[in-house]
Symmetry: none
Subunit: 244 residues, 2 copies
């Protein structure tokens, strides 16, 4: 029992724009196999609730009943401290690319320190978009056969859940845990930065503005900002932009 | 390539009396994700070859083409040195019950020594019978949630294959190395930041200036800045500080 109470809270599994209800249900089953029960669903293609998801989930229906529904990824991540994006494709984004083992080791240490961890899973066909990945602090890639990759959504959820549970046996490494900022705090910092740069005419030419903004968000996510750093950066932005 | 040749030969995956062709195909896909390609099939319910298995296997068809067909489990295991039976149920048989991690660690050591390892997977509905398990040297049980167990055949094959591959060191095929900025570049960025903040009256009161500057340098170091990020930050500083 003592060990039970020390088991850190499992990550939130975030399904981003999932398409088929069956796959949402299968993901719920995959989660519950390893005791995960916190799912968030972002903008599901076929609306919510979804009878096909319920039918497929079967005994894991309570995962769906407790799932949070969000209109966009930003809203789904507001209270999260650390975000991992599962993606198989190489990305031009400069972010740590971790194995499930590395990611879940880190996630367990953070969760044990009271931090809220989220893992993002993309839509079945296309996977996460660059704007989704831009919100993540790190990328998780399952080390599959480079010549054959066919993991589906539920299998990907299953492997991450298994990996978390597997490590429950291992003692947590003692590593210092920074006071990470919540996603909503980082989002607001990003808004503040954009606003100041907009006023200063930074986003030029206009045709490149969207890409520039994504790069800035990416950069903020990559740094894994702490709460004091976010405050410092707000202060710097205010001070540098003063016109008096 | 030298590393390749030292990788021990992957275990044989033995499907015992599988029922649905789709599940055999899905198992082939699960295997090939992690580079497994040696399948044996014992007395499949719907005969062999099975068009539904081929359709489901899709790009993993070569696993099915190379699969051995056997009338009974004894024949399938004749040349094997070590046999693991995957089963979720408790057994009255007195045999070691291993986690996938323990089983694959042992299997890797045996394979590296030239031994042939087999892993048994039972029929979808009922699982392995006691007579099947009696042929195994050890039992493998995935540590699932005791209140919810819903792993299907392909998922079980997937987890064992993943576990084998994970223990190989699980190097990711392509891990991008960020274009980290040199220390001198970070130092110059720090100088630039200080200069702009000095002009803007940020370091106030003067008694705290030294500590504030140290915190800023600390922050820049913690972020492990890339070269493009350093350029971006120089640009932001210039643009925000413009007075025109």
């Amino acid at each position: 029992m003592q060990q039970e109470t020390r088991e850190p809270q499992a990550p939130v599994m975030v399904l981003v724009r999932p398409q088929m209800g069956e796959n949402i249900g299968a993901a719920a089953r995959a989660m519950l196999n390893f005791g995960f029960d916190r799912m968030r669903i972002v903008d599901p293609r076929d609306g919510w609730p979804n009878p096909k998801a319920v039918a497929m989930a079967s005994g894991a229906g309570k995962v769906l009943e407790g799932a949070g529904l969000f209109p966009d990824l930003g809203a789904a991540l507001e209270d999260c401290d650390r975000v991992y994006a599962t993606t198989a494709r190489g990305r031009e984004l400069v972010k740590p690319v971790l194995t499930p083992e590395e990611a879940m080791a880190e996630a367990r240490a953070l969760s044990a320190a009271g931090k809220r961890v989220a893992i993002l899973f993309g839509p079945e066909r296309a996977g996460l978009e660059n704007d989704d990945v831009a919100r993540a602090n790190a990328i998780v890639t399952v080390p599959v056969n480079p010549e054959f990759y066919s993991l589906n959504l539920a299998q990907c959820v299953l492997l991450l859940s298994y990996e978390w549970r597997r490590q429950a046996g291992a003692a947590l490494p003692h590593r210092p845990v920074p006071d990470l900022a919540r996603q909503i705090e980082v989002d607001r910092l990003g808004d503040h930065l954009e606003e100041r740069l907009e006023q200063a005419g930074f986003f030029f030419p206009a045709s490149k503005a969207a890409g520039m903004k994504r790069n800035l968000r990416n950069m903020l996510a990559r740094w894994s900002l702490t709460r004091p750093e976010v405050q410092t950066l707000h202060g710097i932005l205010r001070q540098l932009s003063r016109r008096d």
